[in-house]
């Protein structure tokens, strides 16, 4: 009597089974491997990076990702005994970083991740591997803007809801016209067309943007950072063992100058130097606090 309906229901049920068999199983496998892998050897490690920040974390399609964060991640993991083909890259956009660590979607995050107390409540940090600072990007022919105090009456661009945008609002809001966009690439088009006079965020992000081929030679970083942003490695809460291994690796890479080399390689062609005062002798966090 009801054969057509039964067929459809059966098909639907079968389809659901196939679907549920696919995705969750696959992710669970890798997560367990990683936990067991620990100090390297077998298994793979999932690393969260930015996909949209040239010079730091950048990836087009399935090409291998590039940038300073990516290179530091590779170097740190190499110290920990992982081969490059054991690393699985995942995009971790700013608002999702804590969630991804808590849900086990990633094992660690190298994504311009500033260490703050509020974030530390949900995740653990190793590092920092680099001390960034908020700075200003201007057109190469601009000579009047030398620091944040010269921005009075000028037009400025930053990213919606980001720390730099908030800093500017807090410190200079009365005198500065601020436009907030979804990403820094939009800001750069405004800077290029002349609608804004400056773009502000962490110095190394600006250097990476200015170093991209599209904008070669058009912009320069002013070079007077006015905040301190310690970039750390995000780890799931309570993973003290990994934290200590990462710290050890970072210490070694700092001592032998590898991090400086990676930085230079990723900001080639831009007039930019990291804040030497802050970056010599970075004090690493104590794990498990």
């Amino acid at each position: 009597m009801k054969t057509p309906w039964m067929k459809i229901t059966a098909l639907g049920a079968a389809g659901l089974l196939v679907l549920s068999a696919c995705s969750p199983g696959a992710t669970e496998d890798t997560a367990e491997d990683d936990a067991a892998g620990g100090g390297g050897g077998g298994g793979s490690v999932t690393v969260g990076i930015k996909y949209d920040q040239p010079g730091l974390g950048f990836r087009e399609g399935n090409n291998p990702p590039t940038g300073f964060d990516v290179d530091v991640a590779k170097a740190v993991l190499a110290e920990m005994g992982y081969q490059e083909d054991q690393i699985e890259w995942v995009e971790s956009p700013t608002p999702q970083r804590e969630n991804m660590l808590e849900n086990g979607q990633v094992d660690m995050i190298f994504a311009t991740y500033s260490i703050t107390d509020e974030r530390d409540e949900r995740v653990d940090f190793a590092g920092p591997y680099f001390m960034a600072g908020q700075d200003i990007l201007v057109r190469t022919d601009e000579n009047d803007i030398k620091g944040p105090e010269d921005l009075n009456g000028r037009n400025l661009c930053s990213v919606t809801g980001s720390t730099p945008a908030q800093n500017v609002r807090d410190m200079y809001a009365d005198e500065v016209e601020l436009v907030e966009q979804d990403g820094y690439s939009e800001c750069l088009t405004f800077l290029q067309s002349g609608q804004v006079d400056a773009v502000t965020t962490d110095d190394i992000i600006l250097a990476g943007l200015a170093a991209s081929d599209e904008y070669a030679g058009e912009f320069k970083v002013v070079g007077s950072p006015f905040t301190e942003e310690p970039y750390g490695v995000g780890l799931p809460e309570g993973d003290v063992e990994t934290c200590e291994q990462v710290n050890e690796a970072i210490q070694k890479l700092q001592d032998d100058g590898t991090i400086d080399e990676l930085l230079a390689a990723n900001t080639e062609g831009v007039d930019y130097e990291a804040n030497a005062e802050l970056n010599d002798n970075i004090e690493l966090v104590t794990c498990g606090e």
């Binding site: 608002p95 509020e118 974030r119 919606t160 809801g161 720390t163 945008a165 016209e177 907030e180 067309s193």
Partner: protein
């Protein structure tokens, strides 16, 4: 609870929701006016006008709102360098209002047209038989009845518009969803409280609109 109070102290949440309300208010007025005009064109006996309105409605209705807003900022402001106001905040508020109005006008037009379809053909014939022209008939007979029949779809469009004001964040307007992003950036430890504030805030704005719509649609329904 403490967390929620802390967030209210720390961030301009009220100003954010106020910006959403202002955007919704101005956009609703412009979009509704434009929608009535489009609907009139659509039902007009002049074929070319009807076609023009249909083309505009189908074109705009199928462009995602985000694309309209981003186009406004990146192309209209960024590349063509058209400043409507020297003050950035006002300039972007105007830009967002224009984008929201253009986007929602076709939805209002279609809502009104659905109301026109509820008016029996006899009404139009009767209007013509006593000597009224198209505009007089539309203004005195058709549109008043159509609006009363279209309260529910108009209310739905209004609710969609209110929620869509969050897209104005892409046009650099400081509103609730942008403030939500700021809060998540600085206080990821309070994620649940942040979500609750924004969700409840919008519910408090939207639910009364829904209730009002239902009440009005019952009260104003044309009894036939």
């Amino acid at each position: 609870m403490e967390d929620i109070l802390f967030l209210f102290e720390q961030y301009p949440i009220w100003e954010g929701f106020w910006a959403n309300l202002k955007l919704a208010f101005f956009s609703a007025i412009f979009a509704f006016t434009l929608g009535v005009i489009l609907a009139l064109f659509r039902i007009s006996p002049v074929r070319s006008m009807s076609w023009l309105s249909g083309a505009f409605i189908n074109l705009v209705r199928n462009i995602p709102l985000t694309v309209l807003v981003v186009m406004g900022v990146l192309i209209f402001w960024g590349q063509l360098q058209i400043n409507m106001h020297p003050d950035f905040d006002t300039n972007f508020f105007m830009l967002a209002t224009i984008a929201l109005s253009i986007y929602h006008a076709p939805f209002f037009a279609e809502a009104i047209r659905s109301g026109v379809n509820t008016v029996p053909l006899g009404q139009a014939e009767a209007a013509r038989s006593i000597g009224l022209g198209f505009f007089a008939a539309a203004r005195l007979i058709i549109i008043p009845q159509a609006l009363r029949g279209a309260i529910t779809p108009i209310g739905n469009t209004l609710i969609a518009l209110i929620k869509n004001t969050t897209v104005a964040a892409a046009a650099s307007v400081m509103e609730a969803s942008g403030i939500m992003r700021t809060m998540i950036e600085f206080n990821p430890n309070l994620m649940v409280a942040i979500f609750l504030i924004i969700a409840i805030g919008f519910s408090l704005i939207v639910i009364p609109v829904g209730l009002l719509t239902t009440w009005l649609s019952e009260r104003l329904a044309v009894t036939r």
